[in-house]
């Protein structure tokens, strides 16, 4: 009994000592590995979040994925690659901003495309139904449509 209590005392102390630690996920980019971090916690609230690695690209509604992400974890490449990478990782926020016709993701995309922010906002807002025709669109569809709309 004494040993068990001593051990538990040491363990609790260790848990606290470990407090300022912050684990890095070594799988690199994407949110998949980050999502699992919660499992090490007191209440694994995030345990139910699944990383879906079977999709070729990010589909609407999957925040977590590693596709299309630069292996160095950096914003890189030409305009089209950057737009795709950005949309893959920010699709939900973009969908929201597109539906409302304003927001940080639209400003960012305007920057990447070197376009006027207002034009980008208006065009995405008016073409929301084209960008998101149904709930199963993926980032590649959205990127291609986004390009078509911006060029029109």
């Amino acid at each position: 009994m004494k040993k068990v209590l001593l051990a538990s005392l040491m363990l609790s102390a260790a848990v606290v000592f470990s407090a300022p630690a912050q684990a890095v996920d070594s799988t690199g980019c994407g949110l998949g590995s980050m999502a699992w971090r919660g499992q090490s916690g007191i209440i694994p609230q995030l345990a139910a979040v699944t990383t879906n690695g079977t999709f070729g690209t990010q589909t609407f509604g999957i925040t977590f994925g590693t596709s299309g992400c630069d292996p160095n974890g950096r914003v890189t490449g030409g305009t089209q690659k950057m737009v795709l990478a950005f949309l893959e990782n920010n699709l939900e926020q973009f969908a929201m901003d597109a539906a409302a016709g304003q927001g940080e993701t639209l400003t960012t995309l305007a920057g990447i495309m070197n376009m006027d922010e207002k034009t980008v906002a208006e065009k995405t807002y008016q073409n929301f139904a084209v960008l998101f025709p149904n709930e199963n669109v993926d980032a590649v569809d959205v990127t291609l449509k986004f390009y078509q709309i911006m060029k029109a």
């Binding site: 009994m1 209590l5 538990s8 609790s12 102390a13 260790a14 848990v15 606290v16 000592f17 470990s18 407090a19 300022p20 630690a21 912050q22 684990a23 890095v24 996920d25 070594s26 690199g28 980019c29 994407g30 949110l31 980050m34 999502a35 971090r37 090490s40 916690g41 007191i42 209440i43 609230q45 995030l46 139910a48 979040v49 699944t50 879906n52 609407f60 509604g61 925040t63 160095n72 974890g73 950096r74 914003v75 890189t76 950005f86 990782n89 920010n90 969908a95 929201m96 597109a98 539906a99 409302a100 304003q102 940080e104 400003t107 960012t108 305007a110 990447i112 070197n114 807002y125 709930e135």
Partner: protein
């Protein structure tokens, strides 16, 4: 001086003694070039700039470099000898080893500044690509607040952001994170032990800032504070170059000392040695303390920006809803949009946008299946897109800056009466916060009470005693409402002096308890909670040495800007009579200032049919 001079000469000879030509050059040019370098290096190696670039910290046996990777130190003795390291670095830049030279762009800047190198920095494709991707425009220190669901994030986290000059927004900037590579060990029993013992390697990762935002704001629901730094363009170049240098290294990660926040302090020092930040964190490094230290350096932080968590944004939006909007919102999140469609045209967008954010929150929390999530998201957004009028709600822009919170450590002095005996009490707590402490800047309802120790002197028998060592208490009170349902919990482990009311003996008892329950908020200021718990106690003083039990507690937390109060009643049903007790507890605090408070604690216990009571009044000083 002499010894150093000799050592450097030896390096010179070694390096230049390879060819006859060089020998001649050495002999002739001895007092023109190389010798001057030797003299310069001797004094330059003691410069704070060089010491900080090499991450040297002065220990009991001289200098020691913090960085663990062998390849960070060019000289085999470089980890403990800044001079030899400088000599070896000078030699490196005289050599043809481009690959190795490319690892040290910041050291090159130092050598260049002090005339120790005359050749240009080589062309390094990877380093150039790094700078091209980052397009540095500034630096920002980031603080993410506590995450009570992960023991490694209880104290929050710090990381760096290299601001970008790219067109658009800082979403395209990059976060630089120092952390432990714990992959595969997260669920291990030894997780914490490994962390304490420095078994995990610590290393750096780079990620786009939008990824950081997603992780902290949207997945873990933590606020991000951005402290934009005031750096010259030379300092910025040096910072980025030095990140490149350390970015390739690993160092044993000590969770409590050489952790994420500590390493950032060494990075700051490397860029501006007079900041002398790392020296202030020899004992423990709490992330919030490092943020405060950086903010305390004059002129270092030029502006502050707040990025609230998704949950906080949703709460703020809900607060702005009128009654019919709130009703429509509750229906909208179950995909019944009838009420929303009946709203006045200019009230629809806010409801639909909030509902969409809430659905995302639910999905991440695991409360929603992917299929439902997609369907709901899509329909809410389509309806939002069709709403004729736009957003009217304010976005949450202001928060309680953690820099202005009370400090981490606390000492207190007080007097009290226990069952008629007068006593004086001295307490010390190295970390961190209780709900009765001034709440400004802390996560509401979150408690970490660590190694909180109290000593007492009793007047009647003139005796000094250790009264209590609170090894650890962790609590998270999180109000439940129709929208958010998080569990509240409390875990505690302490060693306490206890009086046996029957025999009037006293002794020490190790107490442990784990409890869970719910919290209900009447308003921001009045919270009520209920917890059920399992309890255990052990100690030679106890009849049968130990007892086990179950507890039921009900309490109230009242908090205002200047004062707070916690009242609780707890009934414990135990295997031994001495454990079975009814306890009343009240703590009331009044804050004089950020770091000073007056506290009154009243406890009343019924045990063995006898009553015990205690009142303590104490002054608390945080530091």
């Amino acid at each position: 001086m002499n010894g150093h001079g000799w050592q450097f000469s030896r390096v010179c000879l070694y390096q230049n003694g390879q060819t006859l030509m060089k020998k001649i050059v050495l002999a002739v040019g001895f007092c023109f070039g190389l010798c001057r370098t030797a003299f310069a290096a001797d004094t330059l190696a003691d410069l704070p700039e060089w010491l900080a670039l090499g991450h040297y910290q002065k220990g009991w046996f001289g200098y020691e470099g913090t960085i663990g990777s062998d390849n960070f130190y060019v000289s085999p003795e470089g980890k403990n000898n800044p001079l030899k390291e400088l000599e070896a670095t000078v030699t490196l830049f005289q050599s043809d080893d481009v690959e190795k030279k490319c690892l040290f762009p910041a050291r090159y800047m130092f050598l260049k500044k002090h005339g120790l190198v005359s050749t240009p920095f080589p062309s390094c494709a990877e380093f150039e690509q790094f700078k091209e991707d980052l397009q540095p425009a500034g630096m920002t220190l980031l603080f993410t607040d506590a995450y009570m669901n992960n023991s490694s994030s209880l104290f929050g986290h710090t990381l760096l952001r290299v601001d970008t000059a790219r067109k658009g927004t800082q979403l395209l900037a990059h976060g630089i994170n120092y952390g432990a590579w714990t992959q595969g060990y997260e669920n291990s029993f030894l997780y914490a032990v490994y962390g304490l013992a420095g078994f995990y390697p610590g290393g750096y990762t780079v990620k786009p800032y939008y990824d950081i935002i997603n992780t902290y704001n949207n997945i873990e629901n933590r606020d991000i504070w951005e402290y934009n730094l005031n750096l010259t363009s030379e300092e910025l170049d040096l910072f980025v170059a030095h990140i490149w240098e350390v970015g390739q290294t690993t160092t044993p990660y000590y969770f409590f000392t050489q952790n994420c926040s500590y390493m950032l302090m060494e990075l700051f020092d490397a860029v501006r040695p007079e900041l002398n930040l790392a020296a202030g964190f020899k004992g423990q490094t709490i992330p919030l303390d490092t943020i405060k230290a950086v903010n305390a350096r004059e002129g270092l932080v030029k502006s502050v920006n707040y990025r609230p968590s998704r949950q906080r944004k949703i709460r703020y939006r809900i607060k702005q809803m009128n009654e019919r909007q709130y009703d429509a919102f509750l229906d909208a999140i179950t995909l019944d949009l009838t009420e929303t469609q009946n709203l006045p045209e200019d009230e629809k967008a806010d409801v639909l946008e909030t509902a969409y954010q809430y659905v995302q929150y639910q999905y991440v929390a695991g409360d929603l299946a992917l299929k439902d999530y997609r369907q709901k998201s899509f329909q809410l957004l389509r309806a939002r897109n069709q709403a004729a009028a736009g957003q009217k709600f304010d976005e949450l822009k202001e928060g309680q800056n953690p820099v202005l919170s009370h400090d981490s450590m606390m000492v207190s002095l007080g007097v009290g009466v226990q069952n008629g005996d007068v006593f004086e009490q001295l307490s010390f707590r190295p970390a961190y916060h209780l709900v009765t402490d001034r709440g400004y800047g802390f996560l509401s309802g979150a408690e970490i009470d660590f190694l909180d120790v109290s000593f007492r002197h009793y007047d009647k028998h003139d005796k000094y005693v250790l009264d209590k060592l609170n090894v650890l208490q962790l609590s998270s009170f999180s109000p439940i409402n129709a929208v958010f349902q998080a569990m509240s919990y409390r875990i505690g482990l302490d060693v306490s002096r206890q009086i046996n009311p029957k025999s009037e003996d006293e002794g020490y008892v190790l107490n442990g308890n784990v409890g869970g329950g719910g919290t209900f908020a009447l308003s921001d200021h009045f919270w009520f909670y209920g917890l059920s718990s399992v309890e255990a106690a052990y100690g030679g003083f106890l009849p049968n040495n130990q007892w086990f039990g179950a507890g039921l507690a009900a309490g109230m937390i009242v908090s205002f800007e200047k004062a707070a109060l916690q009242a609780e009643v707890k009934k414990v049903f135990a295997t031994d009579k001495i454990g079975s007790a009814l306890k009343w507890h009240l703590t009331a605090d009044y804050y004089f200032s950020r770091n000073q408070a007056l506290e009154t604690i009243f406890t009343y216990t019924q045990n063995y049919g006898k009553n015990q009571n205690e009142v303590l009044v104490r002054l608390k000083q945080y530091f």
